[in-house]
Amino acid sequence: MSCGNPTTEPDALMQRRKKYDKTKNCVKCKDTQGNIVIRHAVYCKNCFIPLLVHKFRRTLEPSVNPKPDGPRRTALKPAGNLLVGLSGGLGSSVLLDLIYKCYIALDKSTMPAEGGRDHPRHERVWKKVTVCYVEVCDAFPGMKDRTEEIARFVSRYDELDFVPLRIQDAFDRTWWEKTGRKASFSDMGVSLSDESLLIESLSAGHPDPLTALRTYLSSLPTPTAIHTSIQILTRVLLLHTALQTSSSHLLLGTSLTSLAVSLISGVAQGAGFNVREETMEEWTPDPETRPTPDVVLDDVKDGADKGKKQLKRTVRVVRPLRDIGMKECAAWAWWSHIPIVGKEKWVWPGAKPGIGTLTKDFILGLEQDYPSTVSTIVRTCGKLAPKGEVSGKCILCGRPAQRGVQEWKARISIRSQPPPPPADPTDGSAPPVPVVPESKSDTRPSLTPYLCYPCHTTLTSRSARPVPSPWPNAAQASVVALPVWTEARLGAGAGGEPSPADEEIMVAKKMGQAEMKGIVNEFLLDD
């Protein structure tokens, strides 16, 4: 049998699959030849632009008012300012462009026709809009610093404030103080060398932020953990910046495609309890990490929250591009001439791809054969709710933690119990003592009870083979510094944390006779 010759045998070539369902004409206006195919439907450029704006507004606007489902047709009145997280990638660049056109420049091409000139829709929604960029170049060797390029990109749009941060700010007590918090906590760190995650004091004092970051990353057990940790640090830096700028909303440029990837990646890292937060999240700072009132009051005089009490501040994280795929974002960027700065891959010599990278490659590949995959993933996850009780917030990522995860882990993988003496089942002797989850006999303070499942897994789950560190020459420390918000909560004795049994982890004080008597008094008989 020989290979077919396509020039002489028409059957030798496989028929090319049509990319669209019916005709090449736009499915909306019907008479113009289409410019883009979105999941088998053809659109022309003129119909695509309003369609994308409609999808963007439809996702964002129901979340603008403090009461999400309240009447919003007449007015959008957010409780504070707006913070936009910009990474320099496609999604966040398109998001910034849309925010600017729809809510700052009030571009007529983005407004629905009905309503008239004086419709409240034509008023500015957020009084102040800030763009925050977190530069991660110091986390990886040889990565280019893009802060200036990003600043130039932001300067294309007027009336925007720009806040550049660096990833090591997560370990910077000066930054923490700048955001209005107190940084008067002791030099405590965690030992990442074994699974106990013991909290110990930093023998050489608190390192500088860059050293702290690199030591922390170098001590993590897998490439997945490094990627995930940087995502967490970035997210929490953005949340605290939102608080600092009196923003009620933090908008992220997560497209439908990236949301599907992060949902599957989250599930693969044990974050099923937080599926809801991946789509939309209401974040409230811990009482001990809230800005001190005098700092906040300065902002309140200028912000939209004037006259309101600040102590119950929440930041609503919204992903307004969650119904818009990567391809649609790319088309918008192309037709709007947006100069995308881009992002570098988070790699270092010898590193294997982590779960996030594998998931992204897998989903994008699957989408070629099954075009509705990303939309199906997002819709399916939208039908899920967390199961079980919440046990406070994770000390590292700030998301709700599920109760009982350590007991679950202990039950399904035995890690420390020695085996009983071998018993021959046929000798009629008594059966071995049944196994119960090991009790925590180690009373040394540990970070474990204050972590959610995915964060605990991030810090403890190891690869089968040793993993090259991004900073092999970084000083190896047995105890590594923690992000400032974690230190702040530890310094406050993880107050407000109900798990486990409200135990105090940092203070070990000897109980006096009188105190003990006070506890057991009702069980004591009179002399």
Partner: protein, 358 residues
């Protein structure tokens, strides 16, 4: 380099690295932790009661061979008081099932357990070879999967057992969680991590290997010198499941805990109440009495399609409509015998579920 000592007993020489935890341990400790974790799974979920008659779904592959061994061991060690049976389904695939059924027959001798083999031919009048001859290699996994599920229940009813245990392992469950999310099967996603499923009209079915890694099952069989048949089905594999499996293997290579982390995720969410309300209510098939989401169960629809020469009838909605448009089923259509749950009342000890305190 001096030999490493076992991370669990700190005494014997470590001879393996546990795929699940990465710990280097000795053989005896491996047997101990593997068996004890399965015991913990059984006691935590209170799967059995003393006196229960339990059928082990036995295919002759690694999972069911190890399951039969572990169930027998734990039943004796912890005095569960179970009466164990082997139940095999013969799909009728020449060259695929023949050898593995021999393994099952050997297990019957080794473990002294009664064995029941039920064939598709006996139950449905069709072997998988005959089905593939009619419909081709595409979609035949649908037939095999639907027919096997019913066949296990019917075999269990014949054996008059209370409970079927299957060898589904942690890898299978993690793969199913991913697959159900990716293809939007919300009903299955809601129940795929349950260790035990039981409807009103079905026999209790559970997965004691829910948290056991596939690699550890193989390791257990290897060290215990259990023989089994590793045979890939000769008909086309389910392409979508194949994608999910390859992805899961990549995840496991990146971080071995990924399998258990996915299962944890699956257990940590549930279907929202308002979505549950829109799910189809389970009913009973009017033709064979088996549980069904429609008037006719999937197996009856598939069988009718085969008998009437329209085999894809239950695979796509369009084909189902074509079948309906073709008129009602002929009177003399071959059907599946009426399903009845094991109803013979048996005297059972009035004790509570098998717990860790036995």
């Amino acid at each position: 380099m001096p030999p490493r000592t076992c991370a669990l007993c700190n005494d014997a020489r470590a001879i393996l690295k546990r795929p699940k935890t990465g710990q280097q341990i000795c053989k005896e400790c491996f047997f101990y932790v593997f068996e004890t974790e399965v015991h913990n799974t059984i006691t935590e979920a209170r799967l059995f009661k003393p006196g229960d008659r339990v059928a082990i779904g036995a295919s002759g592959g690694k999972d069911s061979t190890v399951l039969a061994h572990v169930m027998k061991t734990l039943n004796e060690r912890y005095k569960y008081g179970l009466e164990l049976f082997l139940l095999s389904i013969d799909e009728g695939i020449t060259g695929y099932r023949d050898d593995s059924l021999e393994t099952v027959k050997r297990n019957q001798q080794q473990y002294d357990m009664p064995l029941k083999i039920l064939s598709y031919d006996e139950l449905y009048g069709w072997t998988m070879d005959a089905i593939v001859a009619q419909i081709g290699k595409k979609n035949n996994c649908t037939f095999c999967g639907v027919f096997r599920r019913q066949a296990l229940d019917r075999g269990a009813a014949i054996l008059n057992v209370d409970h079927i245990v299957t060898g589904h392992n942690a890898d299978d469950i993690a793969e199913t969680v991913l697959m159900n999310i990716m293809r939007g099967d919300i009903a299955r996603l809601g129940r795929c991590t349950s260790i035990c499923t039981q409807g009103e009209d079905t026999i209790k079915r559970s997965k004691p290997f829910k948290y056991a890694y596939e690699k550890e099952i193989v390791m257990y069989a290897y060290f215990k010198k259990l023989d089994y048949f590793s045979t890939e089905c000769i008909y086309s594999p389910d392409a979508y499941r194949g994608h999910a499996r390859a992805f899961l293997k990549d995840l496991e290579a990146a971080r071995p805990s990924a399998i258990i982390d996915i299962i944890h995720s699956g257990e940590a969410f549930e279907i929202k109440e308002d979505v549950k309300a829109t799910q189809k209510i389970q009913q009973t098939c009017r033709r064979c009495g088996y549980m069904s989401s429609n008037e006719l169960c999937k197996a009856c629809t598939l069988l009718e399609g085969l008998e009437r020469g329209m085999a894809t009838a239950a695979v796509t909605d369009r084909a189902r409509k074509r079948l309906d448009a073709d008129g009602p089923a002929p009177e003399n259509l071959r059907t599946i015998p009426m399903f009845q749950l094991p109803s013979a009342p048996r005297q059972k000890p009035t004790t509570t579920a098998v717990e860790g305190t036995t």
